[in-house]
């Protein structure tokens, strides 16, 4: 297992290096420069040049990249060019915000969709199965921004029971923060439920049909024990992989949700960094999202091998 994790870590570092180069090259294609973006198109060129000089944006691209990568190795991501504050500070707040929203959505959607999927599979072909399958699929098919606007209209503007935006007032307590995050979290639940529940349902149906399940039933084990010990253990393997891939999306891919709910998460920070050509912020933000993806898939692989002895044994051999 240790060798397996070590190999994965080395591969992850290579992936991150490649990612940083891709983002660096990609960011050079964007038009304009940081001084021009800060001062706007109508600013005097002399002022733009002076600001670029002050910000160090006039240095060669290779030098900017090497400075940044050198800083990262010493855990210093540099300063945001647009916000003139340490990147750690700008992204730290955004990362905490994204993590709060992702965690709440995760806590709701994972048990709900797995339970829904397994329940539907155990009653395959019934009205309840169809209700869960089709309902989940329909909810997933509706774009997240539609859910967002719909939920705001109903729960904030018409009923007035939940806030219209997701940023809680300063110094808010835990429950107030949760209250502010409920609507965006439910948008994500609606978007993800159908997908995860469908995977759980398919895996469960396959496991229910397997020889080992039939053997367990013939042995006379009670249905609950069969499901818990034999079915779930096998049926959740593909579901875990799906959940892991959604982690990166939940942290870095929520630009639309964050925008509609006026929430300062990683998605908005990255979007603004790309708009402003704020290279240190953009590069560091993408790295963080990349790390989240890699850690999530690594954890999924570990969970996979724990649940599936065949994988574990293959790795050990």
């Amino acid at each position: 297992m240790a060798g397996f994790i070590g190999k994965r870590l080395v591969l992850s570092l290579i992936t991150l290096l490649l990612l940083s180069i891709i983002v660096f090259v990609g960011s050079q294609v964007l038009p304009g420069d940081v001084g021009r973006n800060i001062l706007g198109p109508f600013a005097d060129q002399q002022a733009v040049d002076a600001l670029n000089e002050q910000l160090g944006a006039n240095e060669s691209l290779i030098s900017q990249y090497l400075d940044w990568i050198g800083g990262v190795l010493t855990l210093d991501m540099g300063d945001s060019l647009a916000f003139r504050r340490p990147v750690q500070e700008v992204l730290g707040d955004a990362l905490v915000n994204s993590a709060k929203l992702a965690l709440l959505a995760f806590i709701i959607v994972v048990p709900l969709s797995i339970a829904g999927g397994v329940y539907a599979a155990l009653r395959e072909g019934s009205t309840r199965d169809r209700l869960i399958s089709l309902g989940g699929l329909s909810a997933t098919a509706v774009p997240d921004f539609v859910w967002a606007v719909l939920l705001i209209l109903v729960f904030s503007l018409v009923l007035g029971i939940l806030p219209a935006t997701a940023t809680a007032p300063p110094e808010s307590g835990f429950f107030t923060q949760v209250e502010y995050l409920i609507l965006p979290a439910f948008c994500l639940v609606f978007v993800l439920f159908g997908y995860i529940a469908r995977m759980a349902r398919a895996g469960t149906i396959e496991a229910l049909d397997a020889d080992y399940t039939r053997t367990a039933v013939i042995k006379g084990l009670p249905q609950r024990t069969v499901v818990r010990r034999h079915v779930l253990r096998n049926s959740l393997l593909p579901t875990i992989a799906v959940i892991a891939t959604q982690c990166g999306y939940l942290i870095g891919g929520l630009l639309v949700i964050e925008t509609i709910f006026n929430y300062q998460g990683i998605g908005q920070s990255l979007f603004r960094a790309a708009q402003e050509k704020d290279f240190p912020l953009l590069q560091s933000g993408v790295m963080i999202v990349g790390i989240v993806y890699l850690v999530a898939t690594l954890l999924a692989d570990i969970a996979y091998s724990v649940l599936n002895p065949r994988v574990r044994l293959a790795q050990e051999s």
């Binding site: 038009p31 706007g40 600013a43 003139r84 500070e89 007035g160 300063p170 006026n262 402003e276």
Partner: protein, 561 residues
């Protein structure tokens, strides 16, 4: 004839042309009751007459009052006023701020020498008075005594001089350089005694007080020792002082107990600015009771607010507009008759009534908006398809032509591009729309590297200005750095120099007339409308003072019972 019609006809005979137009719009259902009252008040119609007209059109007095309830009572002291603004796009530094969220924040704790009020009148603030000598080339400002910065240091003429020399410094990265270029050079603002600052200008300028006013939003007065780290202190002399700055999310202020002006001592105890990333979230924020005031919203993004009975709209005439440039130096717009034809094909009435829901003045193809004091009254250009076709035929383009129209996907500009496309099609002209993001449209913002400055035809957004000087210069002067039309006209350049130098309003008006007539004839850029500045407030909030530049003065704002 029914009774309603008879009563309306009787009132029409007593009403002006503008009032009759309003009556037409109300009866046709193009405007609502609230809009009718608002527009009528702007046109100078008395409230009783508006009530009579509305009643004749079948709207009861009670309904009118229910739609727009009158505010009663003075704002109550205490409490917190919450305002929503778009998030500043970068670090908050008076030297570099360039967006509306940033300038609104600057104006809470910072102050200007002169306040350009909502009617564009210069009101003394940190300057008590000013005068010019040498025909507008030298200006002297008397600095108010007894004013302190938030750290307790007294305001001195040296602070004022240092502020403007910093803004005019080409090496400082100052956004105000586009205002002071060719007007004020670094080092030419000097403290000449204990109470006076003298500005020696590069050339005479009759509107200089506006250039040091809140219209030039970067010009908040800072201590001479200012080192650029404004976000730590928000230092200034204003009625609010920083309580807490939350980067990316908002800023809270408390009353400055040592503020120099007793009349502007804050009514509320606190003022809380909340940053929003987009207009839709702002609208939800105001409707969802997260904020009491929304600094600005557009007709297209904030339609829900215009019909919300809990929201009151403040509407200001402004000079904000879109410029539709036609490149004068390349085909098909080399011939001015073709440019005139383009201008005559545009249905301005449809733009103002449809696209902007009547919240706009008509443009007459020059930067002189109706809101400017110096704008001369000349005949409004209207849609005239027949004359446009004749002009095209005379220019040898009777079969029309095909041209690319560039713009970016912001505000109502994509809709404007489509409406233009429909208008000019009547004369066989085809516009191929190229709508990109802002970064692509502006490119490097220099000639040869920017669709904005290089395209044959383009639509560009311009914000409000208190005086037309900047708009007359960079987009239209032969050497103008924003001259996407590539318009070069010596007589125009000379008239603008005369206009800018004129101190006397009558002389400015005379030059303005000549400039307006010249631009109407040459039509290098189409100015089709100047849209209003819209602010939303909750009904229980009073005395919100905004300007079309985007400043918001909440010093006297409070809740009413």
């Amino acid at each position: 004839m029914d009774e309603t019609q008879r009563r309306v006809d009787e009132l029409r005979r007593r009403s002006s042309e503008v009032e009759n137009h309003l009556i037409d719009e109300l009866r046709a259902g193009k405007i609502g009751r609230r809009e009718f009252i608002r527009r009528g008040a702007i046109a100078g119609t008395s409230i009783p007459l508006l009530g009579l007209v509305a009643s004749a059109c079948g709207v009861s007095r009670e309904e009118l009052e229910r739609v727009d309830p009158p505010q009663t009572g003075a704002p109550q002291p205490g409490g917190t006023i919450r305002a929503g603004v778009l998030a500043p796009s970068g670090a908050l530094d008076p030297l570099t701020v360039t967006d509306q969220g940033g300038l609104a924040v600057l104006g809470q704790s910072g102050e200007y020498l002169v306040w350009s009020d909502k009617e564009l009148k210069p009101v003394p603030r940190l300057a008590e008075s000013w005068e010019s000598t040498e025909a507008g080339q030298v200006w002297r400002f008397k600095i108010r005594q007894g004013v302190s910065f938030h750290d307790g240091a007294p305001l001195t003429p040296e602070d004022v001089a240092a502020t403007f020399n910093r803004l005019a410094d080409p090496d400082a990265g100052s956004n105000a350089l586009s205002v002071f270029g060719g007007v004020l050079s670094k080092g030419n603002a000097k403290a000449v005694d204990d109470t006076t600052v003298e500005f020696q200008l590069d050339a005479p300028n009759g509107n200089f007080p506006y250039l040091v006013s809140s219209d030039n939003y970067n010009a908040i007065v800072l201590p001479a020792s200012y080192d650029g780290d404004w976000e730590k202190t928000f230092i200034g002399t204003g009625p609010w002082r920083l309580e807490q700055f939350r980067p990316g999310s908002g800023v809270s202020y408390v009353r400055n107990e040592d503020y120099w002006d007793p009349d502007r001592r804050t009514v509320a105890d606190r003022n809380d600015f909340r940053f929003y990333s987009n207009e839709q979230a702002q609208v939800f924020g105001l409707q969802g009771n997260e904020v009491d005031v929304l600094l600005q919203f557009s007709v297209s993004g904030g339609k829900a607010l215009l019909t919300d009975p809990d929201i009151r709209t403040i509407e200001l005439q402004a000079s904000a507009h879109r410029q539709i440039h036609l490149r004068n130096d390349v085909e098909p717009f080399k011939d001015k008759r073709v440019r005139q034809a383009m201008a005559l094909l545009v249905n301005r009435r449809a733009l103002v009534d449809g696209l902007l829901d009547t919240k706009s003045d008509f443009g007459n193809d020059s930067p002189f908006a109706p809101v400017f004091q110096s704008t001369a009254d000349i005949a409004q250009r209207e849609q005239d398809v027949r004359t446009a076709k004749e002009l095209l035929a005379a220019a040898g383009k009777e079969d029309g032509f095909r041209v690319q129209l560039n713009t970016w996907n912001g505000f109502e500009m994509p809709d404007l591009a489509q409406l233009l496309q429909q208008d000019v099609r009547q004369a066989g002209i085809t516009l191929d729309l190229t709508i990109t993001d802002a970064g692509t449209y502006y490119g490097e913002a220099t000639f040869g590297e920017s669709p904005w400055l290089d395209s044959t035809m383009g639509i560009t957004e311009y914000g409000h200005r208190g005086v037309p000087n900047v708009l007359l210069g960079a987009p239209l002067l032969s050497k103008g750095t924003w001259n996407g039309a590539h318009f070069k006209n010596e007589r125009y350049d000379s008239l603008v120099a005369d206009y800018v130098a004129a101190v006397d309003l009558d002389v400015q008006r005379a030059r303005a007339r000549q400039i307006q007539e010249l631009l109407l004839d040459e039509s290098p850029i189409l100015f089709t409308y100047f849209y209003y500045y819209l602010t939303g407030t909750k009904n229980d909030v009073a005395d919100v003072d905004v300007t079309a530049m985007g400043h918001i003065d909440l010093a006297r704002t409070g809740r009413v019972a």
